[in-house]
Subunit: 402 residues, 2 copies
């Protein structure tokens, strides 16, 4: 099947793809499945009217989707009516499942999500991964994945693919972690260390967090900038409902946007990067707190208790975020900025100075800033849902494997 | 016909488009025309093998394109061979033409480009447009457009559409100039002031400049950041060969990316924006030169003559551009940055400090910076070619009008 992300590689003009009956059938299968997924339960006739195909054409497509276990018939609807009753169709709760996994700096997690978007199995292990070699971390993550897959199989589901979120830059091959500074991993082929039984994609946690926001967030528009933090500060740019990845897959490095051109040196080689003002280390230092696990929680607790030094540190971080986001908003003109990940828990103390900075620097109405309702769950959910979306986008690829 | 730009509006998931025989025919017509445009002259058989359709299917499509004047048959090729000789096909030099026009701060221009990409007619008027009302400017531009259209008609061409480049922000309606500070135009419906005989698109000059670079530049990759300047500094972001427009159509405002958070106030409402360091006014002031027409040329002349103050001013501007571009490169991860418009003529004195700044601030290999070979011609050519591309992308829309 295709890679479980919504990013087809562009086809060059030198070798245009032919548009064939088979390609049309594949796209129409996806249209039917997406329509039932978004609006179901629906009868065949309702699907036909929604996608503008004949009922006969839709019936053929539906039969194929039922055969391959992606749709199920809920039985006749309104049975008292004259004529052959329409059977309501729903996306299957026993077909393929998307397996998501996450390597966090301080935890590992895995989950299984069915085609309806419901989390059906889940496993988490807390404990730091800082400075651990990739092999033992991948082995532990593999065990969590196996646990989740077994749990999904017990419920009649089967894994359609695995997507793994990591706190670092991932090459466009979707498996190599080029740089994960807080794990101290470099050029790690994580794909080779994980179970090979299913199609695999590894991606940056900020990207999966943004996709989760796009697919699961409340009223998230198709154009937005998603800013998240675990230890570093990452961002993801979503344009017309698609993730902007960049040439090497490195787009969204908001943490290294210069905020003060001659500010403190940053390990990246730059000076005055945003992370030097709003990264976790910088904020903890400014707040007079020590490092260690659960530090973001401590910042929130102290800020909520009214600690002036902590609140000052968060206010300054918000200001620096506002400067960097002004640049990003000027370049990208997104409809909204969404704060996700660990930043969502600190939003009450970051937002006022962040928004003030954005307002005073932006001509015309400032870009609205909202807080993700998914919080730290975003990347894991985004990973699992990316596999589910790949099935919805190309159901024929799964059907061929049944 | 469709708007002469390569940006179809996204269709929402709530109303998926049906995939029909007719849609397939339209896309295959475009594939045939694009293939002949990129690689012709080609025989029907060669087109068929390149796009993966049968010769019979291609012949039907070719006949339609010949009938509507988009392709022409050059006559039998290799006439000595056994069997029916294949006739070589070429894109027509007498069919539709793209009409491009430009409102510059110091000039007006129009041109006609045929489907082969050749400029077939051209008209220019020099003289400042600063502070002039939109109506007389549009009337003069309309006269230039009429002159160019008449010249094209004399050569057997007919206008397929008109695209106009302006030095300002244009709404996504493709006709309203929201803000053109150097013309002092605000919320101007330029569409209403121009000839209504053809489909019309108005867009920012930086956008058209970037599209020209994409279509006509030497080895331009599909992911790049195009930086240009007339009086202000604009940029355009091209991702996977498509222009990133932003929610309101305002993406690419590099000139208002903060470079020094507490730097000088900018008319945009911000502080320390890039234009305060690298905009034309700022550079002329730092170079000790007066304002007036042809000022960028004067900077280049003085710098070439070794004027230390001018060179220092351009070095400082390059440094500020380097800081702003570091942020942009971190966010977008483009394959390359291209300096176009007036900046291309100043590149020898801007580039060293710009590249040094980008290098020292970027982790890993720095993003390469190149200079556009199109220079100030880019926006006008990009406008005309955008109409041509729209014909290549949907030939059936034109055919219906023949």
């Amino acid at each position: 099947m295709t890679a479980p992300l919504n990013e087809p590689r562009p086809t060059g003009p030198g070798r245009p793809q032919p548009d064939t009956q088979q390609g049309m059938r594949r796209r129409n299968l996806a249209r039917v499945l997406h329509t039932v997924s978004a609006e179901g339960p629906l009868s065949r006739a309702a699907v036909a009217s929604r996608i503008g195909l004949t009922r006969a054409a839709v019936s053929t497509l539906v039969d194929e989707l039922v055969r391959s276990g992606l749709l199920e018939e809920l039985g006749p609807e309104r049975p008292g009516r004259v004529g052959r009753p329409g059977s309501a169709l729903a996306v299957s709760g026993r077909g393929p499942a998307g397996i998501g996994a996450e390597v966090g700096v301080d935890h590992l997690a895995a989950c299984a999500v069915d085609l309806r978007g419901t989390v059906r199995a889940r496993a988490v292990r807390h404990g730091t991964n800082r400075g651990r070699a990739p092999e033992p971390v991948a082995a532990e993550l593999g065990a969590l994945i196996s646990e989740v897959v077994a749990g999904a199989r017990d419920q009649g589901l089967w894994p359609a693919g695995l997507a793994v979120a990591v706190p670092g830059l991932v090459a466009r091959d979707g498996r190599t972690v080029v740089r994960a500074p807080n794990l101290d991993w470099h050029d790690t082929d994580l794909g080779a260390l994980l179970p090979g039984a299913y199609p695999l994609t590894v991606d940056n946690e900020a990207n999966f967090g943004a996709l989760a926001e796009l697919w699961l967030g409340r009223d998230t528009p198709p154009d937005f900038l998603h800013v998240s933090a675990e230890i570093g500060i990452g961002a993801a740019v979503v344009v017309d409902g698609r993730l902007l990845r960049g040439t090497r897959g490195f787009a969204g490095e908001l943490g290294h946007v210069p905020v003060e051109p001659e500010g403190p040196a940053c390990p990246c080689g730059g000076r005055g990067c945003l992370e030097q003002y709003a990264g976790e280390e910088a904020v903890l230092r400014a707040a007079g707190l020590e490092g260690g696990e659960g530090r973001v929680g401590l910042l929130a607790t102290r800020a909520a208790a009214g600690d002036a030094r902590v609140r000052g540190a968060l206010r300054d971080a918000g200001r620096a975020l506002g400067v960097a986001l002004t640049g990003a908003v000027n370049l990208l003109d997104p409809e909204t900025v969404v704060l996700g990940g660990a930043l969502s828990g600190l939003a009450p103390w970051l937002l006022p100075s962040l928004e003030a900075e954005l307002d005073r620097r932006t001509a015309g109405p400032a870009c609205p800033v909202s807080v993700s309702s998914l919080g730290p769950e975003g990347p894991l959910l985004g990973a699992a849902h990316s596999v589910v979306r790949a099935v919805l986008d190309d159901p024929s690829a799964v059907a061929e494997h049944v």
